[in-house]
């Protein structure tokens, strides 16, 4: 391939001129001589990294506070992973069940998270979610309606009452588009297809900027910023079977770790029980929990509704123990207990895993999810249009006629940057985190529907506090030019090597090997010797990372981009494995074959991971204590 020389022509583009007009600092342009690579410098008060639900909501809030902000998006605007959220957004609006309130939502969230959650985050989330949903409506979102014209809510796993505001099964699209349009109407400056490779710290180890590159032109950009807000989403791309897109490489988790932030609960990875299993090309693609919320049931190859065999003691008192009662619950929540098909995701995923391993799986290694025999074709198409379309187009299955085949898929990262519940501030001054990249909110297992609400509740809080921090910031942030040059040099290394050399590593091959390692050794069921082996494998992969060589140049080069992403993926996978090795119990999404039960003592601690030099350090630290008035919520109802 011929190289296209990347020249900084875009220096004169209108966006950059406009941004210059709002900047307080005079310096801008490719003038820094510390490296021979040209780059542009932009100055902002707040930099929001990530343009999914959390990043957009944060950017909107920060903008409303009157600070200058930039929103960086790894993809084009409006394409972030939020778009794939299907089932709904959890909020105790009480439109369908008037008994619902924030206390019940809080209790469900904590119990779903196996009590590992940061209680304060779970409380704020439950209290503020309804306002955030109503706000989305005020900004143009059109949720499905109840008969009396209010926002309709649907049942979902682990939620006691019908709580998920939704738009058919494409709620994430409605949410991201609403937030996107709001952000655009506020004139928020967006840098699309722009990826941050390093956070810059000043001499006090506080945030002062970031190094990024812009895919479409292949140039590096340096941002100075008083505060930075991470809203970068998840890490699922490091597993073979995942519902996550190429973006979910843990980029923000890694940036925070490298900047010295405390990371918590990194062992808590959620495997969603229902991903597609066939054909191979769509293996892992999400099948919404809404299918079960709307009446779908899980069956094994014997036609048995096996979930009745997997009801854990913690949920026994509120779960139906016969098919008759479970079916009655769909029409009358007051007189029957909920179906075990809607137990929290960790429970259902483990049950499916056991059924398949016991030889009772479907032809392609999953189990059956059947809504065809239980609801009319019209109902299914109206409630689950995307699922209908997805199975029809990609698997040739008509879900109004035949059951789906489903199995667990790596879906969501509960762990992440340790943040203050109120402000979303990390342990690094000036660094904030919201959404999936932040840890604590969901404990050891997230309930369906709690992600979208998390994005807007903590997106808003993080945006607010990042803006306030920036307002009280003294002086101007001054990144160290040496650090910038170093970061750029490191990034361009894979381009300077000969990709045809004998020891040259292909980034795609390395990624495949990492995904195989994580899938087989750090998957849904874990055990000590496999985790130890995984750490060794990751070390070897890190050594191979040094030899990565890519063809082409910097402009829209996916191979090079993957080479950079692999650094984050390996760092994050190492954290996950280290956490998993240390948590010697089974809790939520973290299941240990060699420690199959909950350990009350371990339930009181978070494992905190920090980078010290080139090493990772893991420390058990006591979890924040829930105050007695909230504690009571768990005693009363048992």
């Amino acid at each position: 391939m011929t190289d296209t020389t990347s020249t900084p022509e875009h220096l004169t583009s209108p966006t950059l001129e406009e941004s210059a007009a709002t900047e307080q600092k005079p310096a801008k342009g490719p003038k820094m001589s510390h490296t021979d690579l040209p780059f542009v410098t932009h100055n902002f008060d707040v930099l929001v990294i990530g343009a999914g639900g959390a990043g957009l909501r944060a950017a909107i809030e920060a903008k409303l506070q009157g600070v200058s902000i930039a929103l960086l998006s790894k993809s084009l605007l409006g394409k972030a992973h939020t778009v794939m959220a299907e089932g709904g957004i959890a909020a105790s609006l009480g439109n369908v069940s008037d008994q619902d309130n924030w206390q019940v939502h809080f209790r469900d969230t904590m119990r779903g998270g196996k009590m590992l959650n940061n209680w304060k985050m779970a409380q704020l989330h439950a209290q503020e979610a309804p306002d955030r949903v109503l706000e989305l409506e005020e900004w143009g979102a059109l949720f499905d309606r109840t008969a009396d014209g209010r926002i309709l809510q649907r049942d979902f796993g682990g939620h006691r009452y019908a709580r998920l505001a939704h738009v058919g099964d494409r709620t994430g699209l409605e949410m991201i588009r609403t937030l996107q349009q709001k952000a655009v109407s506020l004139g928020i400056e967006v840098f699309a297809e722009t990826i941050v490779v390093k956070l810059l710290l000043d001499s006090n180890r506080a945030i002062c900027g970031a190094v990024a590159y812009e895919r479409s032109v292949g140039d590096f950009i340096v941002f100075t910023a008083k505060s930075i807000l991470l809203a970068t989403g998840g890490i699922g791309r490091s597993w073979q079977i995942t519902s996550n897109s190429w973006e979910s490489t843990g980029g923000g988790h890694a940036l925070a770790l490298w900047a010295g932030a405390d990371m918590i609960d990194m062992e808590c990875v959620q495997f969603h029980p229902t991903g597609m299993v066939w054909p191979p090309s769509v293996r892992g693609l999400l099948v919404t929990e809404g299918v079960r919320g709307d009446g779908g049931i899980l069956k094994n190859s014997l036609g048995k509704r096996f979930m009745f065999d997997y009801i854990p003691p913690m949920f026994a008192s509120e779960t139906a123990d016969s098919e008759e009662e479970a079916d009655r619950w769909y029409t009358d929540h007051a007189k029957a207990r909920r179906t075990p098909d809607l137990l929290p995701r960790d429970e259902v995923a483990r049950a499916i895993n056991t059924e398949v391993k016991s030889g009772r799986g479907s032809p392609h290694g999953g189990v059956f999810l059947d809504i065809a025999s239980r609801r009319s074709p019209e109902y299914i198409k109206r409630r689950l249009p995307s699922m209908y379309h997805q199975f029809k187009e990609l698997a040739g299955v008509d879900i109004t006629k035949d059951p789906m085949e489903v199995g667990p898929t790596c879906h969501y990262m509960m762990g992440g940057v340790r943040v203050d519940a109120d402000t979303a501030a990390s342990s690094v001054p000036g660094l904030y985190a919201a959404g999936e990249v932040a840890g604590g909110m969901h404990g050891a297992n997230r309930l369906g529907g709690n992600s979208l609400s998390d994005l807007v509740v903590f997106g808003r809080r993080a945006g607010l506090h990042a803006a306030e921090y920036a307002k009280s910031y003294q002086g101007d942030p001054k990144p160290d030019p040496g650090e910038i040059a170093k970061a750029i040099a490191e990034c361009t290394k894979p381009l300077s090597k000969d990709h045809t050399a004998e020891n040259a590593e292909n980034p795609y091959k390395l990624q495949d090997d990492l995904r195989k390692t994580m899938q087989s050794l750090v998957g849904i069921i874990r055990t000590e010797h496999e985790l130890t082996q995984a750490l060794e494998e990751i070390e070897k992969l890190k050594e191979r990372l040094d030899n990565i060589a890519v063809q082409g140049d910097k402009r829209y080069n996916p191979g090079w981009h993957l080479a950079l992403d692999l650094r984050s993926m390996l760092a994050v996978c190492q954290c996950v494995t280290l956490g998993a090795l240390n948590r010697k119990e089974s809790r939520g999404g973290h299941t240990r074959d060699d420690y199959p039960t909950l350990d009350d003592e371990l339930g009181k601690i978070n494992f905190v991971i920090r980078q010290k030099g080139t090493e990772l350090e893991i420390t058990p630290e006591p979890k924040p204590q829930m105050p007695p008035e909230l504690q009571k919520l768990f005693e009363e109802q048992h």
Binding site: L76, E138, P280, L285, S386, G552, D553, Y556
Partner: protein, 273 residues
């Protein structure tokens, strides 16, 4: 760039209908020009075009530029022209093609090339900035908004849009007339305007803007946009035609003209222009 560069050349050196093999003929290049390159791989069960493109990347051309995200038809990133037909690569199954024939993949023609299959779609993001924000009326006394499902069914159809821009790509008004881009919003944005116009809570009126700046009059209802919409939105019938009717009514209906005139005089200007 020269649009003809991206038309498939007359079939040459076919790799033959070898069983179990697939050949992708992918346009590679940038704004300075490019060429088709053939990649032949083993066929695999159940694949979509994007799967094979990914295998080309990992096995043959690590730097092959392609946009994609969800690989589930939900994000609208992987738009391209497959054998000349605008489609999402992630929703086009390999089994739709007869074996042995090379499958030609070119970038969307209406937008400037960045590299290979990736185009500069910023035109659309610039139009989006001109759309007036949703402006709801007052809430009910209980602080909520009430809307009947039947009143929002139509708009929910419009909200299904995944912004793949295939409708923009295929629309003749801009596909073959670069000069029209300055005065034309395109089908995607007519859908957006229709969603705003028909939203039961929205109070601002974009009919003047649609006529004067968004060029709705340029659309001659050939329905090409509707045909390529992966979300099966009835773009022409449900969005564009009703908007055209509203624009006509607002501008040429004598009674409506009089009402507007009176409102303007009394300061109740409902036009956004």
């Amino acid at each position: 760039m020269n649009q003809n560069d991206r038309q498939p050349a007359e079939t040459q050196d076919k790799n033959g209908p070898a069983t179990g093999k697939v050949t992708l003929r992918i346009w590679r290049g940038d704004e300075n020009g490019g060429e088709f390159k053939d990649y032949t791989l083993d066929a695999q069960e159940g694949e979509v075009v994007l799967d094979v493109v990914h295998r080309v990347q990992s096995e043959h051309a690590g730097d092959l530029s392609v946009r994609w995200n969800c690989k589930a038809g939900k994000c609208g990133s992987c738009s391209a022209e497959i054998n000349g037909v605008p489609k999402l690569m992630c929703m086009t199954r390999m089994s739709d093609f007869s074996s042995g024939e090379p499958i030609t993949i070119t970038p969307m023609r209406t937008f400037p090339i960045i590299r290979d299959l990736v185009t500069d779609v910023s035109f659309n993001y610039e139009i989006a900035k001109k759309v007036p924000p949703f402006t709801p009326g007052p809430k009910e006394p209980d602080g909520t908004y009430r809307m009947a499902q039947r009143d929002i069914d139509r708009i929910q159809e419009f909200h299904k849009c995944i912004e793949c821009f295939l409708c923009q790509n295929v629309c003749h008004v801009i596909r073959d007339h670069e000069e029209n881009k300055a005065n034309y919003a395109g089908p995607r944005f007519f859908v957006r305007f229709a969603a705003l116009e028909m939203h039961p809570l929205n109070t601002n009126n974009s009919l003047g803007l649609l006529k004067e700046e968004m060029g709705i009059g340029y659309c001659n209802i050939t329905k090409c946009c509707t045909e390529v919409c992966p979300e099966q939105i009835h773009i022409t019938d449900n969005a564009i035609i009703p908007l055209k009717e509203r624009v006509v009514t607002a501008n040429y209906d004598p009674l409506a003209w009089l009402v507007t005139k009176i409102r303007r005089k009394t300061g109740r200007n409902t036009s956004s222009t």
